[in-house]
Structure formats: structure tokens, C-alpha cells
Amino acid sequence: MTTTTDDTQHDSHADDHHEHHIPYGITRWLYTTNHKDIGTLYLWFAFIMFLIGGAMAMVIRAELFQPGLQIVEPHFFNQMTTVHGLIMVFGAVMPAFTGLANWLIPMMIGAPDMALPRMNNWSFWILPFAFLILLSSLFLEGGGPAFGWTFYAPLSTTYSADSTALFVFAVHIMGASSIMGAINVIVTIFNMRAPGMTWMKMPLFVWTWLITAFLLIAVMPVLAGAVTMVLTDKFFGTSFFDAAGGGDPVMFQHIFWFFGHPEVYIMILPAFGIISAIIPTFARKRLFGYASMVYATASIALLSFIVWAHHMFTTGMPVAAELFFMFATMLISVPTGVKIFNWVATMWRGSMTFEVPMLFAIAFIVLFTIGGLSGLMLAIVPVDFQYHDTYFVVAHFHYVLVTGAIFSIMAAVYYWLPKWTGKMFHIGLAKWHFWCSLISVNVLFFPMHFVGLAGMPRRIPDYALQFADFNKWISIGGFAFGLSQLIFLVLLIKACKKQGEPVSAQVWEGAEGLEWEIPSPAPYHTFETPPVVK
């Protein structure tokens, strides 16, 4: 990492009269308040968590490779599904987006840094401790959380292991980190835009993150409330979710999903911003319907607060409530559809090339659309009674989260990596990574639709014989997808060692925006004098 220091120091000497030395060694990373360093920390942390959560998915798929119990006990299997979900949601996808926000938002709006740099440092550095606590609970007597990432009461209260307390504290810390990150994004965007960077000139990534940040501030406290009630129900004799004490276990699900559904959009709105940046670049044509993209994002965010109970159609709600949540959920497909149509219209009569970020972006549009359409099917209450809690649902949310959110993150990394390092990444490896991931991810998740429709429930360590053949294929796809990510790891290590061809400031022929006007690699300090946006 010392090379980074040398390069950037050189640039900053040339560009401005910045005299102080860039810190080096471990303290550079521990004490840093620089948005680029913190962005890098977030991204590496997310990638490590992605590999750990992925390793747990490998355990799950190995056990499900054939019928019978071969590798793990059911109790450990449940811990794997639970912690896999928690790590991927809170450890991989959310920190990766926060890392991208840190790197890109100041550069995109012409700000020198995030508005609250010390809080920025803190919001990152509490995260590793949250996950150390969570992962260490797996080694305690009774094991870690085994009640699913949704921790439905009373399975997570009366019937859980004592390590639940650690789970609760870990979630509290993650929540605090997310809230601080969100405050920082909002304050930065409201106060630090360069002169002339009006609201409707902001890149869509900035817009989508601004809206995401409001969602985070609205719902993370709700999650904190839910875990606190679980804690007091389990350890301090309250009865929020226990009917015997006047509580209601279904109320837990209402509270959880009031957090949980906006959470889903927290994990996809920034992806929309990324795709809206990449498609115009490689189509060499302005984004179609910029304003409608902004309004569509805002509508999705608002609707996300009134659809939560579509996760709970089988809990025994009144018909009127089921109808309301069905209609509200179906409505979300309108603004989401608008986005997809706008991307296709952007590509239409463009002049397209297919560099690696574009490949991931196109895969995103196709596969996210598949996930979105199965989501529309799931919204229909009478058929959801069949789909609910089967592998059809597992297929659906992995299409939107893996080939949606995670593919968008990979697209973003390939798109901005040359700007960050100043060198083009290894294109051969990147293409291998793309094609291996694309094929294996579909072998992994597509047959899940079939076993789900055929009647295989989620979260079971063993299954009836008619599901055996598809599960074998799903597991093979899973192992291949897991191995494909090692190509990405090698590529990233090479990139961090500054291997590759130097790139220009613009990097990609069609790229537009403030971040492409500063040199590559981006100097340690940028826009100390604000640029003027015309």
C-alpha cells in the first residue's frame, strides 16, 4: 500500500499546495478520516464477509447435495442458514454499498470529503467488532443463532440458545454503524455539493443513495427495537411476543418486516444508481428519462413502507389486510418497470460496446427482471399460499440480491476500479469472472424455482427423494459460483498491487461526470477547491 502513498503524494503536490504527509502503515487505516481510505476499508470488509458468508453457503449446499444427513447436524445447519443470511445482508451487501458511497459521492458532487469524517471512521471501525461478536457466538455452547436471519419469536426468544444475547448486540452495532453512515451521506449531499450541482443535476447514484439513507434512518431503529424486545423477552421476563403474557408472536413479524421490507430496497436502490451510470457510458447516449428515474426511486421508497405484510400472508391476517398488501405490493412493479424500460430505452439506438462493467450491468437488467417478475407472482396472495416459505422464494430473493445487488456491486467495482488505482484491471480474468459467475449463478438459482413449485420448503437440512436431482445441480452450481469468486479475489489483489496498464482520467470513452475529470488514480485529496458545474 505504500505505492499508493507515493503516487498520490506526487499528484497532490502537482495539483495543489497540500503540504501534510499522508499517513502510512496500520495507523493510516485505523485513524483515517479520508473518504477514499474508508471506502476502501468498507469494500474490502464487505468482500471478506462475502467470502465468509459464501463459505457457509457452501456448507449448506454440500449438505443438500443429496438426501440424508451427511455432513452437518440439523442444529448446525440452521446456524449456517441464519448466519449466512445475516452476514450477506449486513456484512456484505450493505457495507459494500456504503463503501461505494464513501468513494464516489464526494467525487460525484465535487466535495473534498464526507461531511462528518470522524464519524465516518467510527461507523466503519465498529463493524468488524459486530461481526466478531456474531461469528464468535458460533463457537459457544449451544451454538450461534439458529432461528433464521428473520429471527421469528418465539423461536428466537424462549426456544433459542443463550448466545442470542450476542446476536442482539451484534445487530445493535451494525444498526448504529448503518445509521451513522446514512447521516453522513445525507449531510454530505445536502451541504457539500459544488456550486451549480443542483438537485436535478446530481448523478443517479447520488440520488438513489440519498433516498436509501433516509430509508436507513427510518427503519434501522425499528430493527433495534425488535432485537431489544427479543432480548428482554428472553432474558428479562417481558412478554412482547408471548401470548401467555398478553403478547403476540405475529406482532414480532409486523415489526420485523416493517424494517425488513424497506431493508430490501436499501439493498437495491443504490444498485439502480450504479446501473444508471454504467448503461449510458457504454451506450454512449444520455440516460433516458432522468427525471422519471428520480421520481420512480422516490416512489419505490415510499411504497416500501406500506407493503411489509406481504411477507406474512400465511400468518392469518384478515382478508381486507391481505388485499391491501397485495395491491400495494403490485403497485411497486410500476416504478420498477419504468426503470427497466428506461435502461432499455437508453440502450436503444445507442452505440454500444461491451466492456466488463457493461456485461455485469446487462446481466443485472436481465436477471433482476426475472427476480422482479417472480416477485410480482409472489405478491398474489392466493398463489403465495403455495409459494410461501418454499425454494421459489429462495430463488426469487437470490435473483434480486445476488444477480441484482451483488452483480451491481461487481459492475461498480469494475467500472470505478481503474479510477481508484489508476491502472486497468486484468481484463482476461475479469471476463472469466463474469462468464463463470453468470453461468454458475443460473445453474445455482434457476432450478430453485422448480423445486419450490414442486413443494420443497425452505430451511430444511434434508428433503424427500423427488427433489434429489435438482438439488444436485443446484449444489454443483453453488460450488462453481463460489469458486468463480476466487477469480475476482485474484483480480482485486493484482489491482491493489497496481498491476496493469495506466488509464486516462476519463478511463471509459463514454464516461461523463465529475469523477472522470480528476486524474487517475484519484488523488488522496480531491476538490479542495470546488469545481463549477455548468
Binding site: 440458545a161 408472536p249 454512449r284 440502450m347 399460499f385
Partner: protein
């Protein structure tokens, strides 16, 4: 190993009957489940058409409007008319979906005027069925042998989808299920009936079915309910109404007799060997899932019985736990799940197995007096 080899041909033969690579949802055996299937296919076809339209437009564009073919980018980047069109048209399609969905849902949720009502109670990890109009109730548990799960024996045709005592319902009659739970949330699901309904502790949900064809229908618990969530199947046998009436009155008589028999057995004493033999069977069927066949439990989750203070010393407490369960834990009350002589046998077994060796022999009358608070 030898037995495994010998039974392999049977296994291979039976495997042919299982539909491998089933791709789609079942049509089921009720009018509702057929309606659900039709709704599912309608949704599926609309989604495929929308998806295909989007992808074709994309791929045409990717083929013709690529730089390598010399495409020059156009300049357009907004059109209010187009934007309105692709907001309004999807909305209209949604209405087309919503109307039949709403009608079907209203039919599904109308559980009024049932012919038969059955109380379905989930608990870790079995189902309890109580016929509300007859004096019949029983537990229904996984019947697949542990050796099949661990791979020591070949897996049978209905591996993990078989129970000791299936639920029996009449065909052509409206059967209402009142669904609840004794511990965590479970979910009662038979795909052929076209619905699943959560079993919430402390609350009762209802659902109904009206099965058209006699047959055996299999399903599973669909809500994560702890360690053995995957081992909690449901089997329903639908019989012609006449056969059903015959079956239910037989069951009434059998259960009546069993109660009388239990009273009679109060005066009988088991020998140690009898108690240990019966106790081991009861233990393996009811207790081993949590406390493990070796009595060592799962540290931090399910306590060990081997060498535990209660199992080697405090006999009244031991009996009390079996009768009343332990509040705030996964330990259920077995007063209704087992007969008094079964409880006596399993207590005896637990006090003498795995080196507990207390020599205590508990009799059904001891359980009876504990139950009556003496």
C-alpha cells in the same frame, strides 16, 4: 451393509414411481387448488410475455446498435408520452391480475359452515389432530427410520414424507382446520390442498378444504420451527364419506377402550425389564430428538439426562417435568401425549439407562397419583 445390499433392488424399483424433475406447481385435488394453479399459470404467462418483450428489445438493441457495427448514438433522452405509456399499460395489466386474484382469495378465506372441524396443533416436531365433533385425538409423527436419514439403510419411497398416524378426512365435505401451536410457529401445508396456514402459539387460525378424490396426500411443516423442522411431515388420507364414518366410529371405540385399559393398568405393576424395554421405545420415539439417543442432550440447547441431578436423584421433580413440562423452555407436557404407563416406563428408563443406574422402578399408579396432586 448386507441388508442394505439386499434391499437395493426394491429401492431402485420404488424410485421409478417418484416423479423426478417435477417442474411446476401441482394442480392438487380440490377446486381451490385447481383455481390456485390456474392463477399461477396466468401470472406465469403474463410474466413470461413481459420478460420476453423487454429482453427482445434489449437484445435487438445490443445486436444492431453496437459500436462495432458502426452505430452512431441517437440524441433522444426523454419522452413524456412514452413515459406515460409505460406507466399506464403496466397498471392496466396489474388490474387484470388483481381482479381474479381477489375473487379467488375471498373464496379461499371463507371457512364458514364446515361439515367436519379438526383442531390441528403443531409442536416441536409433530402434529396433533383433534376431531371436534368426535371423541378422537392423536399425535402424528415422522415414521422414517433414523437409519434411513443417516444413510445406514436405503431410503424408502416416501422418505421424510411418512407418518405413524395420518390425518383422515372425508371426501366431498367441507373440512375446516383450526390451526394453532403449543410452542413455536409452525405452518401446516399440504400442496395438493392449495394453501398453507401458520400455526401461531396462543392464537387459532382457520383454513378449509374440500377434497374431490380419495387418496393419500403428503406435505410438510413450512415454517422454520427449530432443529427438526425438516422432519415434521403431514400425511392426509381422504376417504369416501361412508368409509370415513366407519373409520371415525372405530377410532372412537378404540380410544374409549384405551382409556379404560389405562385405568385398569393402574393396579398392575411392571417388572424392571418390561419397564426398561417399553421405556426405551417411548424414549426413542419422543425424547431422543432433543435429549439424544445417548441421553447427553445438546449442550447449551437441550440438557443432558445422563448423570443429571433430576434423573439420578429428584424423582418427584422428574415425574413433574414429564407431566407438566418446563415453562419457558422447549420441554413440553407429556400428560396428554403418553399414557400413564408409558410415562412410568420412560421415567424408569431415564433413571436407569446410560449409567444412571438408580434402580428406581416407577409404576403407572405413581404417575396417576402425581397427576392428581397427591
Amino acid at each position: 451393509m448386507l441388508s442394505a445390499l439386499m434391499t437395493t433392488p426394491v429401492f431402485a424399483e420404488s424410485k421409478d414411481h417418484i416423479e423426478q424433475y417435477q417442474l411446476n406447481m401441482t394442480k392438487g385435488v380440490t377446486d381451490i387448488s385447481a383455481g390456485v394453479y390456474d392463477m399461477h399459470m396466468l401470472m406465469f404467462i403474463i410474466c413470461v410475455v413481459i420478460g420476453a418483450a423487454v429482453f427482445i428489445a434489449m437484445f435487438i438493441s445490443m445486436y444492431f446498435h453496437r459500436k462495432s457495427r458502426g452505430a452512431k448514438p441517437a440524441n433522444f433522452h426523454e419522452s413524456v408520452k412514452v413515459e406515460i405509456a409505460w406507466t399506464v399499460i403496466p397498471f392496466v395489466i396489474l388490474v387484470v391480475m388483481a381482479v381474479p386474484a381477489m375473487n379467488l382469495l375471498i373464496d379461499m378465506e371463507d371457512a364458514s359452515e364446515p361439515d367436519v372441524s379438526i383442531l390441528v396443533t403443531g409442536s416441536q416436531w409433530k402434529w396433533h389432530y383433534k376431531y371436534m365433533d368426535n371423541d378422537v385425538e392423536y399425535y402424528s409423527k415422522l415414521a422414517t427410520q433414523a437409519d434411513q436419514i443417516s444413510g445406514k439403510l436405503p431410503k424408502g419411497e416416501n422418505y421424510l414424507l411418512e407418518v405413524d398416524r395420518p390425518l383422515v378426512i372425508p371426501t366431498g365435505q367441507k373440512v375446516r382446520f383450526l390451526i394453532t401451536s403449543d410452542d413455536v410457529i409452525h405452518s401446516w401445508w399440504v400442496p395438493d390442498f392449495g394453501f398453507k396456514q401458520d400455526a401461531n402459539p396462543g392464537f387459532i387460525n382457520d383454513a378449509w378444504t374440500n377434497v374431490n378424490e380419495p387418496g393419500v396426500y403428503r406435505g410438510q411443516c413450512a415454517e422454520l420451527c427449530g432443529k427438526d423442522h425438516g422432519f415434521m411431515p403431514i400425511v392426509v388420507i381422504a376417504k369416501e364419506p361412508a368409509e370415513y364414518s366407519k373409520w371415525i366410529s372405530e377410532q372412537e371405540a378404540v380410544q374409549q377402550q384405551a382409556k379404560a385399559e389405562e385405568q385398569r393398568l393402574l393396579s398392575m405393576n411392571m417388572t424392571m425389564d418390561e419397564a426398561m424395554e417399553q421405556g426405551e421405545n417411548v424414549y426413542n420415539a419422543n425424547c431422543a430428538a432433543c435429549h439424544m439417543p445417548n441421553g447427553e442432550g445438546l449442550p447449551g440447547v437441550f440438557p443432558a439426562l445422563k448423570g443429571s441431578q433430576i434423573a439420578v436423584a429428584d424423582q418427584p421433580k422428574h415425574i413433574d417435568i414429564l407431566i407438566n413440562g418446563v415453562t419457558g423452555s422447549a420441554m413440553q407436557s407429556y400428560a396428554k401425549q403418553l399414557t400413564m404407563s408409558e410415562i412410568a416406563a420412560v421415567v424408569t428408563y431415564e433413571r436407569n439407562a446410560w449409567g444412571n443406574d438408580t434402580g428406581d422402578l416407577v409404576q403407572a399408579k405413581d404417575i396417576n397419583s402425581a397427576m392428581n396432586g397427591q
